[in-house]
Symmetry: D2
Subunit: 338 residues, 4 copies
């Protein structure tokens, strides 16, 4: 297999490295307008073939085009790739609008091509373990999902902090709760320094009795990456800043003896043992690359496909509308791709 | 001085102990309907005089009535105390409505009596140190205030988790930002078990370029009590779960070279040293009792007076309206007590 | 039952409170030379009867004498109590020499009286849970035991930091490894400020293939209280500074495929899940008091009896000899009380 | 400059990468007996020239020979390099015996060649910051030095855990206390699995009133890398497992009012603020390489020279003698290289 990668900035070199080391990949092409980036890739990965012109890349005999450019160019590059018969790998967030996402999904379907959206976290040992725990029924029904991702980080100039950081956590939420339907979102926050919010809070309402919240911040003095998942049987904590013991399962919960009368005695909590399962440490990106290549061979959607990208963009889009209106509730009524 | 305490449940015994050990307090009366609670107080504090009838207590020659009963009874008991010429100490939240708070403030003023609202955290070494740091100018202008107070805790049956837990953090916010005017709030959350929300998120908008957020949860498997205060010079972290080093000052921030063009180079962050000042560990409640007695002597408002209680209730009231409407923005236009 | 307590300094009030609240204890006597201490006890525990003269206390009809005085007075007070037919409760370390310990054990046996040595940690939920895990065979054979107990603490003027802090950890070691025989100790350290060592390291050798080490320090800027217990099946960590999750069980270990040839491939390590069992939080001292009363009724030795006190003193005594000789190995050949 | 590296196992590739990226290095040769290792280096660093025969490497026009082979081969390879006029870079520990170290130092001196011993930690931002703090006088006189380096790690088959892990910490100790003279050591520990100790404790005595201790363990379920440095003015903690705030300075200490009478009131402790200075995060190895090249140009010893390697080996050698004799005190009387 041959892979062409457009965009060799922050993330692109990781794509080069991981695709290059996949046993089925013979050749990796890199494409970027910057001579400096091309030179850097050449020095670190001398076997890579480099080009400046994306049209030239599309003329090559490549199977996969991986797109690691700014989000507002994803659609254009992805469409060109699909039009010339290539499978596409697109960095998160999938597209700048849900309409773009839908168009790409339809185009890929028509041409029988595969879309991989790079929700990398789905391939981490921690998230895989959490899904396993949820699937086993050990956690029970999820009552709330709470995520914090804050640090002192680079400001993006094209999008706000929700578009930059929340896709990671939204993709994890969707992965852990595949049957829960998001119905509306509300977002609050502030842009302290220029047009785009640097602090934001996103609330997500579901059809059933569940609620999710995402706290993202580019201007926190401390780095926190933590999720709480409250099940009605057990509760999960995923702390990605821990070197070890990233996932903890608490045998903790709330129990009601009866719903008729509401008084203190009826709502009780229970706190038991904690268990921290070992999680695999294989690099997520290499597992993602393997999954995509396997999906192409199997003529099936990969684990993180266009639809998953669409679902996240749908929420981001609504969050944008909400935050510009100080938290107005925005309904999400077309989550299903036709 | 003589002090009468009504409500000897969870918090009442702490009031008995702290008032009893104040050098100027000769006698402490305790009042509760429960024989068990009265017996407990008798065994632990044999010098306390105990009564079951609040009217009897009001007839005694007491200077201060301290009210530690459920919030919906605060107004009734407080008004009776003021009517009979007693200074009042009221547990947080001050009252069930802002109208009640306003009425009590006006009544106390008319009768030249003092109101102490027990925002205990204001008297902790940590909060005092944070105020000192803000006052000194070291933190700069506060850009955002973020608070998390979650654990697996007792459900209250009369109020939701915002009314139960957020008063602590709202009082700290108001204390650290005395000149910032709250203009609107939005609250989102969920009631997983019965009428009252057990998970909630409260966003607070200010007149100026600042934003605050409060995350409260009765159903978290882990206990977190942490505040981030983002100043434009330095940033504060207050972690109340730390045994030592509760307050940390980060020489961290964001700098913009120019506002004309928005591109990456213009928004930069800076991370320098961290400093954790020693904070005093005197029990906050004993300092609160001393402050109230001193305020009464000085014929002045205590540090946490009726107005401070009113300000917090005003936000709680608006949060209630907002959360019942899935985060609708509720304006707060009468924060000033006339 | 009636209990007399001699020594009402730092720890004495805890004894008063815990014995007083035991349902079978009718009356608690307190005895101390200091009027201030007597007055303090009177104000906090008005039901206590107070005396200044120990001889007067011994004349009272008490069943138990609890001794919470400096260690060099333990023997004298304990002997007087046994001589007058009282069961004795002695604070750790049991005695100033192993000979004293042996004499008291023999005297008690002769008079059919009980000795309780207050190795309080044995009664904590954490240590009980660890013993349970060891007894179940889950940990396997213990290969090493490592303990750290350091902080910035009060200097004792009569003993060094080993005598002050290590008894806690030595008693836990003995409790977790009841069948392992200590054969020799070596201690190193330094006395930076006056005669007694403020930093010390104690190595303990066993008859079998096991090793223990104790690090104690009065002059550490941070407070650490942690034990590692390396079993050949699983490993334990007990971190007493954690508010929750004090005990952790690691499914980790080392495996050798063969002992014939020693090369890298044969010694491998394994790291699996971690499990943190819930531990009970009942106050250890109240469980200790209950155990002693129950042992007296049952005419049996309590869980922490004179022999346990003797075993710890034997090691302390040897450590003293070793540290004065810069770590010279001191054999312990008479650990068995005849 | 041209650099030849012998030994391309675990650490060798890091040497290749760091020397290759130094601006003054034109060419890097790699030498190893294993075809697999040579192939790996070729794929990752295609510009490297590779050889299997060390004699061939020595014939090349290289300025520096870097030796990253097992410790018992250091002397042989180093001597051959010096004999052929090359400067040498040797991994820690410098040599297998102090005599070997001394011979190499003398040989290098005679031939006016430079020796760099790779005590990498000396070049970390954390250690540099600690030295700066000590040099400034802020810490005062160092009273004790305590180091813990434990984890579940690969067993070495040629040496015990002291030889494997302690050189890091011994080199830091020597660097922070350049004027303190080690006079004797005592080591205790156990070999649970085969000939070499997997748990060990090393005590170090100084000429003046100071003491150091090193705890190393290959079989700990948790990874701890922490140093306490007790000064008589302030105290340092270096926790290398922290992602941020690796170095903390505590304004804590012990004070004696008088040395004449020893009673409680005279030994008091003080705990004030804590400060965590920012430390540089440049890769230590690249700074080491730069230092060596600069030292060669300047015809001077590098920061971590043969003498530093000798001092560490001297302690390791004595520790071996001590641990085989259950902690017997071993004097170190020839620490000075003639």
């Amino acid at each position: 297999m041959k892979v062409g990668i457009i965009g060799l900035g922050y993330w692109g070199p990781n794509l080069v490295r991981n695709f290059a080391s996949h046993p089925e990949v013979d050749l990796v092409y890199g494409c970027d307008l910057s001579d400096d980036r091309l030179a850097l890739i050449k020095s670190r990965f001398p076997a890579t073939e480099l080009l400046k012109d994306y049209n030239e890349l599309l003329k090559k005999d490549v199977d996969i085009i991986a797109i690691a450019t700014p989000v507002d160019t994803h659609f254009k590059f992805a469409k060109m790739a699909l039009d010339t018969g290539k499978h596409i790998w697109v960095e998160k967030p999938f597209t700048a609008t849900s309409q773009e996402a839908q168009d790409l999904i339809e185009l890929a379907e028509k041409k029988n091509l595969r879309i991989f959206v790079d929700h990398t976290f789905i391939y981490t040992g921690a998230v895989q373990k959490m899904r396993e725990l949820v699937d086993s029924g050990e956690i029970g029904e999820i009552k709330y999902f709470d995520s914090v991702r804050v640090n002192l980080g680079l400001f993006q100039h094209d999008v706000n902090v929700i578009w930059d950081l929340a896709p990671h956590d939204l993709s994890i939420m969707n992965y852990l709760m595949p049957n829960s339907k998001v119905v509306a979102v509300a977002a609050n926050g502030i842009a302290n320094y220029y047009d785009h919010e640097n602090v934001a809070h996103l609330s997500v309402y579901f059809e059933d009795n569940c609620f999710a919240h995402f706290h993202v911040n580019w201007t926190s003095p401390v780095k926190i990456r933590r999720m709480l998942v409250g099940g009605d049987k057990k509760m999960l904590v995923f702390d990605d800043m821990e070197n070890f013991e990233k996932v903890k399962v608490y045998d903790a919960g709330v129990e009601m003896s009866s719903k008729e009368k509401i008084h203190e005695a009826l709502v009780q909590y229970r706190m038991g043992d904690m268990h921290s399962p070992k999680v695999k440490s294989t690099e997520a990106l290499s597992l993602g690359a393997a999954e995509f290549i396997s999906a192409i061979h199997g003529n099936r959607d990969p684990l993180t496909c266009g639809k998953d990208g669409f679902d996240v963009v749908k929420i981001l889009e609504a969050s944008e509308k909400s935050i510009k209106n100080k938290g107005r509730l925005i309904e999400i009524n077309q989550l299903e791709v036709v």
